[in-house]
């Protein structure tokens, strides 16, 4: 889909090796940052302004495009535009490329108003977000993603790189094809997946958690809410849950070549191979589903007895 610039100004800044500019924004507008390679760091402040500091080559310029609802920041050499969609019975691929020279590496340090929604997309870069931004959508091909303190929902996707999220309140949708996912102190609904990487959730208070990996361990430590849903699926990895001893949940576990061990009083069959084993803890309010094809399953107390 082509970008449609509804209205706005184009600010082309071309200092020798760095850019530093500040401009007023509506904090409800969305900030979109595109980059080919380098780093993107985003922080917040109590002003309705965006400050952009960027280090780059002499040949590069930083372009700020403003529309009725968005502020877009990118290197002048980099403006990817593509759409890839599989819907129903059709596969559609549409793409356009701009820029005839090698995209430059740019390191951004951007400050945005509190609660401003942000989108960050690039190929070879690390992304760090610190502070109470609004909704955050981050996508990189290679590089790490770190988000701390976001207030809105966070969507983070790295093809190769680790994703670390902490102190967040909104829903999380996290995907690392080849990398690890770590979440600490989160209270929104969480969906996380990897192909080859561990997923670790610590100090979680969520009503819905879905973790899935092909070749990675899954580790969850947190509460289990009444009527909540918790799903943990891996092929070649273990699943470890640390949940309150007073938990109330219906639990289903399945494995092909692993064992189940638990602190809870459950009569575990000698052999689970290929079968779902179901049991109830407490009154059975929440639903917990665990599948580890080739790994062990552990369900332990959140606070273990010495």
């Amino acid at each position: 889909m082509l970008l449609h610039i509804a209205a706005g100004a184009l600010i082309a800044l071309a200092p020798p090796q760095s850019t530093d500019t500040t401009f007023a924004v509506n904090p409800a507008h969305r900030l979109k940052v595109a980059n080919f390679g380098g780093e993107v760091r985003i922080r917040t402040w109590e002003r309705n302004e965006v400050r952009v500091e960027a280090d780059h080559s002499r040949r590069e310029r930083i372009v700020v495009e403003r529309t009725a609802t968005e502020v877009r920041i990118r290197p002048s050499s980099w403006s990817p535009d593509f759409e890839f969609d599989i819907e129903g019975d059709n596969v559609d691929v549409s793409m356009r490329f701009e820029g005839a020279r090698v995209p430059a590496m740019v390191d951004y340090d951007i400050i945005v108003p509190v609660s401003m929604p942000i989108d960050v997309a690039g190929l070879f870069m690390d992304v760090t977000v610190e502070g109470p931004v609004g909704e955050a959508n981050i996508r990189v091909l290679e590089g790490d993603i770190e988000v701390a303190g976001a207030r809105g929902p966070v969507s983070a996707r790295a093809s190769e790189g680790d994703i670390t999220i902490e102190d967040v309140q909104g829903a999380l949708r996290l995907s690392a094809i080849d990398g690890e996912v770590e979440v600490r102190n989160a209270s929104g609904e969480i969906t996380a997946e990897t192909t080859d990487g561990d997923i670790t959730l610590e100090d979680i208070r969520a009503t819905r958690v879905e973790l899935e990996s092909v070749d990675g361990d899954l580790w969850y430590s947190g509460t289990v809410q009444a009527q909540g849903f918790y799903s943990f699926i891996t092929h070649d990895g273990s699943v470890t849950l640390e949940i309150p001893r007073e938990v109330s949940a219906r639990v289903s576990v399945a494995t092909w070549d692993g064992d189940l061990t638990t602190d809870f009083t459950v009569q575990v069959p000698e052999r689970l191979r290929g079968r779902r084993f179901e049991f109830t803890l407490g009154a059975g309010g929440a639903q917990i589903e665990i599948e580890a094809f080739e790994g062990d399953i552990e369900i332990n107390y959140y606070e273990r007895e010495e």
Partner: protein, 229 residues
């Protein structure tokens, strides 16, 4: 299909009937077209599941790219991100609906078979402190149908990547190859387990799940590769 032979279909396929039972069942098959048809359909599904291979297709897609990376083939081409130039492309490919329709017919038979299996205590070990999940049409038969559709979609997407793969940069190819290998291994292991224990709802679901994972990965990396080009 609800006659006395309903729950013998799986045992027959698994070669678990006594010689006397087997002979009686085969006499019944001659007379009962419904059982005969269902048995053939079940055999087709099993054959497909046992024969599914993800790796060969992927190898076909990427062999040229790999050769390009190694510089061993003049025809193979790996386009660097830096070579990107303004241009448009558009592809539209229809997933064969006939295949899905065919599988829908199979599912009718499979569903009956699985329901029949669910009533056969010799296969499903109930170990729970509450009723175990029973095998139903919606669990296993639909899983296999979904797996078939995923297989078709995977093949289509791999064809898209084969057509467009030259535009992927080496980083994308490297990530895709490594992770496809991980998923293909998982699919192979799940398939082997399912062949060992075809009555397992969990294994049927897991096999389908791994197929879905591969499709998702192909979609995602294709998207990233397109962006990189």
């Amino acid at each position: 299909m609800s006659d006395q032979w309903t729950d013998r279909l799986s045992a027959y396929l698994d070669d678990e009937l006594s010689a006397t039972e087997r002979a009686a069942f085969e006499r019944h098959l001659v007379e009962c077209e419904e059982c005969h048809t269902t048995l053939n359909q079940l055999g087709s599904v099993r054959t497909w599941a046992e024969g599914y291979e993800g790796l060969p297709t992927s190898e076909a897609v990427w062999v040229g790219v790999r050769e390009g990376i190694k510089g061993g083939s003049a025809d193979a081409k790996v386009v660097s991100i830096q070579d990107a130039r303004p241009r448009w492309r558009r592809l539209r490919i229809a997933v064969p609906l006939a295949l899905a329709a065919t599988m829908a017919l199979v599912v009718v038979g499979v569903g009956s078979w699985w329901v029949g299996r669910a009533t056969a205590p010799r296969r499903e070990i109930v170990v729970s402190t509450m009723p175990a999940r029973l095998l139903t049409t919606s669990s296993q038969a639909q899983s296999l149908l979904a797996a078939e559709r995923y297989g078709a979609a995977i093949a289509q997407l791999e064809q898209v990547l084969l057509t467009n793969g030259g535009q992927l940069d080496t980083a994308t190819v490297r990530i895709l190859n490594r992770n496809l290998a991980v998923i293909d291994r998982a699919i192979r292991q799940a398939r082997e387990a399912l062949a060992t224990d075809p009555g397992s709802a969990y294994l049927a679901d897991h096999f389908t799940h791994m197929m879905q994972r591969k499709l998702t990965l192909l979609r995602r990396v294709a998207s990233a590769g397109v962006a990189a080009s």
